[in-house]
């Protein structure tokens, strides 16, 4: 009987192991490249960073196909505007710009004689109140594995609809974690994001960046997350829709960021 069970087990396991993952080459359709504009105006540090690119073929070496010689103009106030210059292929940066919360900013990007426009209102800034790091007991894994609960708290800006993006990196290593938070049902309250991690050692530094962002950017990032790493977590794959005109992919957002760094101790 033991022999029979052993034989059955071997057959069953061989069946289970017969599933396999393999990289294959697909004959994918190609399409005309589309314009991608990612424009971030950070009110805390002043720079407007705009990356202009075009979509690339799936099997191309890089996902970033820069577009040089674009005309990038930031418009603000009554009739004020500034042209943003290209610092490296596809990257346009303007330093030392003062952003006023509640003000409207517009951007015009002209590529191949087509102008793509977007606008956003600067949100009010928010500050990280506290970062708490405490050991957490998790049942199951071996006890020698140390789990740390990392809680980041801040006060919501009261009496308005707010959207936030919290990023966390360990030892400045990208891409790190990203959390999208809104204040639905918690207006003016304490907002808290908690992450449980293992593998952190004493002396490791954690970097936190809390950004108050526009609703349009929040929804755009949500769509990007919804598509997942492989584009198949959603009911049907689609292209995230941003706020640029003329079908450009990407987004324009104005944000205020606040940073904090914490070193893990005993």
């Amino acid at each position: 009987m033991k022999k029979t069970i052993y034989l059955l087990s071997i057959i069953l396991v061989s069946m289970i192991l017969s599933s396999c993952e393999e990289v294959i080459i697909l004959d994918l359709k190609t399409t005309d490249p589309r314009v991608v504009i990612e424009a971030d105006l950070d009110g805390t540090t002043g720079p407007l960073e705009v990356s202009c690119s075009k979509t690339n073929d799936f099997y191309a070496d890089s996902a970033f196909l820069p577009v040089s010689d674009a005309e990038v103009v930031l418009l603000y106030g009554k009739d004020d505007s500034q042209t943003v210059s290209e610092t490296e292929p596809g990257i346009y940066i303007m330093e030392g710009f003062t952003v006023v919360p509640g003000s409207l900013y517009r951007i015009e990007v002209t590529i191949d004689d087509i102008t793509y426009e977007a606008q956003a209102i600067a949100p009010n800034p928010a500050q990280i109140l506290e970062v708490i790091i405490e050991p957490v007991e998790i049942q199951g894994p071996p006890p020698e594995i140390r789990f740390l609960g990392i809680g980041t708290a801040w006060l919501d800006i009261p009496d308005e609809e707010n959207f936030y993006c919290l990023r966390m990196t360990v030892n400045n290593k990208l891409p790190g974690s990203k959390y999208l938070v809104n204040d639905t049902d918690q207006d003016g309250g304490l907002l808290l994001v908690t992450e449980i991690r293992d593998g952190l050692e004493n002396g490791d530094s954690l970097q936190f960046q809390l950004s108050a962002i526009n609703k349009e950017v929040y929804e755009y990032f949500q769509q990007v997350d919804d598509m997942g790493a492989n584009g198949f977590s959603a009911a049907a794959p689609y292209n995230p829709i941003g706020n640029f005109s003329n079908d450009a992919l990407g987004f324009f957002g104005v944000c205020f960021s606040n940073k904090k760094e914490v070193v893990i101790e005993e």
Binding site: S9, L12, S18, I24, L28, E38, V224, F232, A236, L249
Partner: protein, 762 residues
């Protein structure tokens, strides 16, 4: 063998009525044929083995036949209405030939029935299957017009329709989730089943509620003659059935169970899954009792569940159905069936961590009362009529998070209630020798019942108004008239043309939370916002048997138009969303195609070749600017070859080969970066194809012993013999070796999978 009861009524035409049963077990034989020799007059037994045939006074020779049974011929002098109960003996061959389509060998040329697949469960057992688990749903997928939803899955599409448009009935009770283990096995234990019939088109008026097809599955009644045990031991599951009379020839009972033990076997070789349960079980029970010559009661039930869990979490889902039926014969011409049905499908999810608990539950519950009559008015005219009402309770989802400090979170998608009714009348009429008609009308209604908060939404999905309805208040009603028509014109005894039209209304839809099906998919009723799906289908076919019915051929063409299909907005969030209706978009669908079938019905070699050429498309105003795009289940080519060869009296081999065009899917056509991460660019919805699918399965059945008191056989099978790496999913990722480059990754689930099953009966 026969029981006669004469009534002295003086008239020129008399009616012969009764039941046809299995001589060994007393099981009623469904759709067995009764034919007057030398004429086209005849009929078949109904779902309860009852028949009624009216003939002129005088001498008649009748032929009674049923596939797998020795036909019987008898001559009788008809001088009055006659009751005639016939018992047919199973044919002496040990190994049944694989015969599908039509319980009588070959095609019933003169019947109006078309676009149907009948499967005698006993005879389908020779088809090789995955892991030796006989599965009636997978066997039916080998026929034209029916396609599997994915590799190894018991889910299916019929003539380009959606998976939720198939009405699966087990002893008349709807089965809402017919799958175990995420679709790899169906909930139907073949040992407990008697007969399966799938209507792809020309759907009779007595059926309603789904847009594309009806699968009518009947459980065995239980042996009325003697007690017996049937069972089987396979690689991942075992089955055991006990059946017998509690009062000989009047009442019997059958209990059939099945349980998988993959987790137990796996634990024997690895400690990695210690403390984890993963199994499913099914339990079928049925009892019947003949109260009198004219009254019979049936009580049947099914319960099955999947269990997946450990000490700290549990996830289980399953169906329960129950059916109480009363057959009453008012007289030799009027047959009645009264049915009370309960059905539920539910799933639950529990997680415990420390003092915190998460619960998730969802379900659908049906209470159904039906009354059906069959009135055999004249030899050439039968009237069927009836009424049914279903009270539905939809519990889309309740989520609760109980935390240590008592600050619990609860999300409750509100329960919905509805009453669905159907009223139908249908006539089966023969006009002359060659023309047969079946025409009917079904009036279906659907009433949404309070309490409910009905919401409307603006284009940004924000709630614009809320109207509250009281308990038991009807706040929305739909009516639909559903005409049904089938016709057959026989050119001669061997060839006929048939045509049909049907309209079907469907008042509920299955919402899927992701790109693939899962137990957490949610049934939702039609509401003021979600209109019922309406499907109109026309079919035309040519049918031919060769002499002696060694071969039969059929060609059918169909066109189906579907209104009010559901799809999702980009970025739709359905799971536990009380405002899920705002995430839906509505459109139309069309499916058309041609089905070719050649069958070899007799001889050492039997089997069939089925081929379908088809197209299935959808259109939604909000998707691709309203242009038509392929439905996921659009399969241009679908070919099945199934054969069984009897090598020796106790040894047969079988094989099946399938090929079909890959599913329509949306693959990326480019890529770009956002926030430092790769994002894929998509163009046309379902504009790409999964790789074509093909697979060969082989089987061998060896009868070890076949005596009257003990039968045993052993079945060896190999799934995917040439180890084709068919894609189950294709995903996209950044290359680990060359960052920035992206690659497609194919997951192939099954390579070659051998299996062995030992079956016994005593």
């Amino acid at each position: 063998m026969m029981a006669f009861a004469f009534q002295a009524i003086s008239q020129e035409q008399y009616t012969i009525s009764g039941h046809i049963t299995d001589a060994d077990t007393g099981e009623e034989l469904i759709f067995a044929a009764i034919q007057e020799k030398g004429t086209s007059k005849g009929t078949t037994t109904n779902n309860y083995g009852f028949f009624s045939l009216t003939l002129e006074e005088g001498s008649h020779t009748l032929l009674f036949s049923y596939v797998g049974y020795q036909p019987m011929q008898m001559t009788l002098e008809l001088t009055s209405n006659t009751k005639l109960n016939i018992e047919l003996r199973p044919s002496v061959e040990t190994l049944q030939e694989v015969v599908i389509t039509g319980e009588e060998i070959g095609i019933d040329i003169r019947s109006t029935e078309m676009s149907t697949i009948s499967m005698n469960v006993k005879d389908a057992k020779l088809i090789p299957v995955l892991l030796g688990e006989q599965d009636i749903l997978k066997s039916i997928q080998l026929m034209p017009g029916v396609s599997s939803s994915s590799e190894g899955s018991s889910g299916f599409f019929v003539r380009g329709g959606e998976a939720d448009q198939n009405h699966i009935l087990l002893d008349e009770a709807p089965v809402y989730n017919a799958s175990h283990l995420l679709g790899f096995f169906s909930v139907f234990n073949s040992d407990a089943l008697k007969d399966v019939k799938l209507y792809k088109g020309g759907i009779p008026a007595r059926y309603g509620g789904r847009a594309s097809s009806v699968m009518d599955i009947r459980m065995k009644d239980g042996n009325l003659k003697e007690w017996g045990v049937t069972g089987g031991i396979g690689l991942i599951s075992s089955r055991l059935t006990l059946e017998g009379p509690f009062q000989k020839d009047r009442g019997s009972v059958i209990i059939s169970g099945r349980r998988t033990y993959a987790d137990i076997v796996a634990k024997a070789v690895t400690d990695r899954i210690d403390g984890i349960s993963l199994y499913f079980y099914d339990l079928n029970m049925k009892a019947n009792y003949k109260i009198s010559e004219n009254d019979r009661l049936f009580l049947s039930g099914y319960m099955g569940s999947d269990v997946f869990g450990s000490e700290n979490f549990g996830f289980d889902w399953g169906n329960i159905t129950g059916t109480l039926r009363w057959n009453h014969i008012y007289n030799e011409k009027l047959f009645s069936n009264t049915t009370l049905i309960y059905s539920d499908y539910n799933y639950g999810f529990d997680v415990e961590f420390g003092d915190n608990n998460i619960h998730l539950s969802s379900g659908i519950y049906d209470y159904n009362l039906k009354q059906d009559y069959t009135w055999y008015l004249k030899p050439e005219f039968t009237l069927r009529f009836g009424v049914d009402g279903i009270y539905h309770q939809f519990k889309p989802g309740k989520f609760s998070l109980e935390v240590e400090d008592g600050d619990d979170i609860t999300i409750d998608v509100p329960e919905q209630r509805a009453l669905e009714t159907g009223l139908y009348v249908a006539s089966e009429q023969k006009i002359g020798e060659n023309l047969s008609l079946n025409y009917g009308l079904r009036l279906s209604t659907f009433h949404n019942i309070g309490p409910y908060d009905y919401k409307t939404y603006d284009e940004n999905d924000e709630v614009t108004s809320v109207t509250s309805y009281e308990k038991n208040e009807i706040y929305n009603t739909y009516y639909n008239l559903e005409p049904r028509l089938s016709a057959s014109y026989a050119l001669n005894d061997l060839t006929s043309f048939k045509a049909s039209y049907n309209r079907m209304a469907q008042y509920m839809s299955l919402l899927q939370n992701a790109n693939s099906s899962s137990p957490t998919d949610m049934w939702t009723p039609a509401t003021p916002l979600i209109k019922p799906t309406i499907a109109d289908q026309v079919s035309l076919g040519w049918f031919r048997n060769t002499k002696e019915k060694q071969f039969s051929f059929s060609i059918e063409g169909y066109y189906k138009f579907m209104q009010n299909l559901i799809d999702y907005q980009d970025g739709a969030d359905i799971l536990l969303n009380p405002d899920f209706e705002s995430q839906l978009v509505f459109g139309d669908g069309r499916a058309y195609g041609a089905e070719f079938l050649v069958e070899k019905n007799t001889g050492k070699l039997t089997g069939w070749i089925g081929y379908t050429l088809s197209k299935s498309e959808k259109t939604f105003e909000d998707i691709m600017d309203g242009n038509w795009f392929p439905a996921r289940q659009d399969r241009t080519h679908d070919l099945s070859i199934v054969a069984s060869y009897k090598l020796l009296r106790n040894l047969s081999v079988s094989g099946s080969w399938v090929y079909y065009t890959g599913d329509a899917v949306t693959f990326p056509s480019g890529k770009y970066t956002i926030d430092g991460a790769v994002v894929y660019l998509f163009t046309d919805r379902n504009g790409d194809r999964m790789p074509d699918y093909h697979r060969l399965d082989l089987g061998l059945t060896w009868v070890l012993k076949d005596a009257e008191k003990w039968h045993s056989d052993i079945t060896f099978s190999a799934y995917n013999v040439y180890n084709r790496k068919n894609a189950y999913t294709i995903t996209f990722q950044e290359s680990e070796v060359n960052p920035g480059q992206t690659e497609a990754v194919r997951l192939a689930l099954f390579g070659i999978v051998p299996s062995v099953t030992w079956n016994f009966k005593f």
